[in-house]
Amino acid sequence: VTGDDDLALQELYASCYARLVGVVGAITRDRHEAEEAVQDAFVRLMGQWKKVAHYDDPEAWLRKVALGFVSNRRRKALNGIRAALRHGPQPDAPAPTGDEVDVRRALAGLPRHQREVVVLHELGLDTAAIAQQLGIATGTVKSRLARARAALSPLLREDVNDHV
């Protein structure tokens, strides 16, 4: 990594680290895990910077890699169960307030693969971009969104069909 590359990496890191942790954290419901995944993504980026630097949106690449790390970790279910047994409920989850309590609970209760498409969709990514981001088919994104919205719909005031 040359001096210029290093500077560019640092600038990218400063500009999008917090945002990436926020998005990944909203999906995983665990800031510590999100920070781990995002930092691992930057570690990988350091090795592939010469290629990724030419991408239109390196942040999207980082988000994809970070979510991939999360998925890999989740596959190690035994470790997760051990951690859960050790720690009990995650204290890092923000305290729900007011009318959003039920929606937030329902969102948190969705399977992670549904929650991630909902979060990415609500952040403005269309189904094609989500599919590309998660490495799944567009149809899969749509079906997951539909299932998630069906689960959430009793709690939402607006017409959910507007979104899919």
Partner: protein, 350 residues
């Protein structure tokens, strides 16, 4: 904005860290990853390694015997360690030779040598734990990609402390008498970066107690300490709030005063210091830290968050006490902030 969008955006905000760890954290992480890969490769290349060690000219002028690569011993017994510095990548990645030599000539160094390969391989033995750490810090500062491989990086035989103290990623401390509210020191957070490993290291001298030595087993009020490690499952350490031995997996240990004091100080570190008891009395049903993080670190941020959610704000000074609030019913649509110098020390609902 739909209700769902608002909730998602609030979640993202809530999980967005207010402080970004320095980029050096990622550099160090990459160095560790590369180090582990090299270590894994080295295990598969025992023959090659043995060949390297068999050539005295590679590692130290006049050395006729090199330290053993024997099985790791507990760090409490390790007073010296053999390091190997490897560089990978092209010439552009390499730090200046003078910088490398500055690290290799630090106090505690012996058996310093260089392997005449391209890129070169350096070897050095460091004696003394402080000296080892100083050397590791020195090579961590070298610019560019490099590998500082610890040839012997022993696990610790204290069951509550997984792996090596320097590899512990975070320590989580909960206190039973405080509603099991937990505080986490994480290596990812800058101000806490240098506090995790020393706290973990303080536990390595723990001495297992024989049954007849255990005269007190009361752990009704205790800290639960968990050292997290990336790959080794952690056991919970129960440290009494007062005096007495710690318990790990049903076994009792005597830990140093440094370890016990370190846990207490870590738990009492701001934003908790001085207000934990106060706010526990006021709104003991709540979980202070997450909400403080949620509403914002400054009074201005917290007021914005509260306004967005239609909450009223009650601000208390850090030393003001809150007797007037003890009588009020819980569940009011209000956020209570304990503020000092504009910074939110604690936030609760009530």
């Amino acid at each position: 904005m739909s209700e769902l969008s608002r909730v998602v955006q609030q979640d993202v905000d809530a999980f967005t860290p207010r402080e970004v760890p320095p980029f050096g954290t990622v550099r160090q992480r990459r160095a560790r990853v590369v180090r582990r890969r090299v270590a894994g490769g080295a295990l598969l290349s025992v023959a090659a390694l043995a060949a390297l060690l068999a050539v005295p000219s590679l590692l130290g002028a006049g050395q006729d015997r090199l330290p053993s690569y024997a099985a790791p011993s507990p760090v409490a017994e390790v007073e010296s360690r053999r390091y190997e510095l490897r560089f990978h990548g092209g010439a552009a990645y390499r730090p200046q030779e003078a910088d490398v030599q500055a690290c290799l000539s630090m106090p505690g160094a012996s058996d310093v040598g260089v392997g005449y390969s391209d890129p070169p391989v350096y070897g050095a033995t460091f004696t003394g734990r402080e000296q080892m750490r100083a050397f590791e810090r020195c090579v961590a500062e070298l610019p560019g990609a490099y590998v500082a491989q610890t040839i012997t990086r022993p696990a610790v035989d204290f069951p509550g402390l997984p792996g090596h103290p320097e590899d512990v990623t975070s320590v989580r401390i909960c206190l039973s008498s405080n509603g099991n509210v937990c505080r986490t020191l994480s290596r990812h957070v800058d101000p806490e970066l240098d506090r995790v490993a020393p706290l973990a290291s303080a536990f390595v001298t723990a001495r297992r107690l024989a049954p007849q030595e255990v005269d007190c087993r009361s752990l009704s009020e205790a800290y639960t300490v968990t050292f997290e490690h990336p790959s080794v499952p952690a056991a919970q350490i129960l440290l009494p709030f007062g005096c007495g031995p710690v318990e790990v997996d049903g076994q009792y240990y005597d830990v140093s005063d440094e370890a016990a004091q370190g846990v207490r100080e870590a738990y009492a570190t701001p934003p908790w210091a001085g207000v934990t008891d106060l706010v526990t009395q006021c709104v003991g049903h709540d979980r202070p830290q997450p909400l403080a993080e949620y509403v914002g670190r400054t009074e201005a941020q917290a007021r914005q968050t509260a306004a967005r959610q239609g909450l009223r704000v009650l601000v208390l000074g850090a030393g003001s006490g809150c007797q007037e609030d003890q009588s009020r019913p819980y569940g009011e649509n209000r956020v209570i902030l304990v503020v000092a110098d504009g910074a939110v020390l604690w936030a609760g609902r009530g």
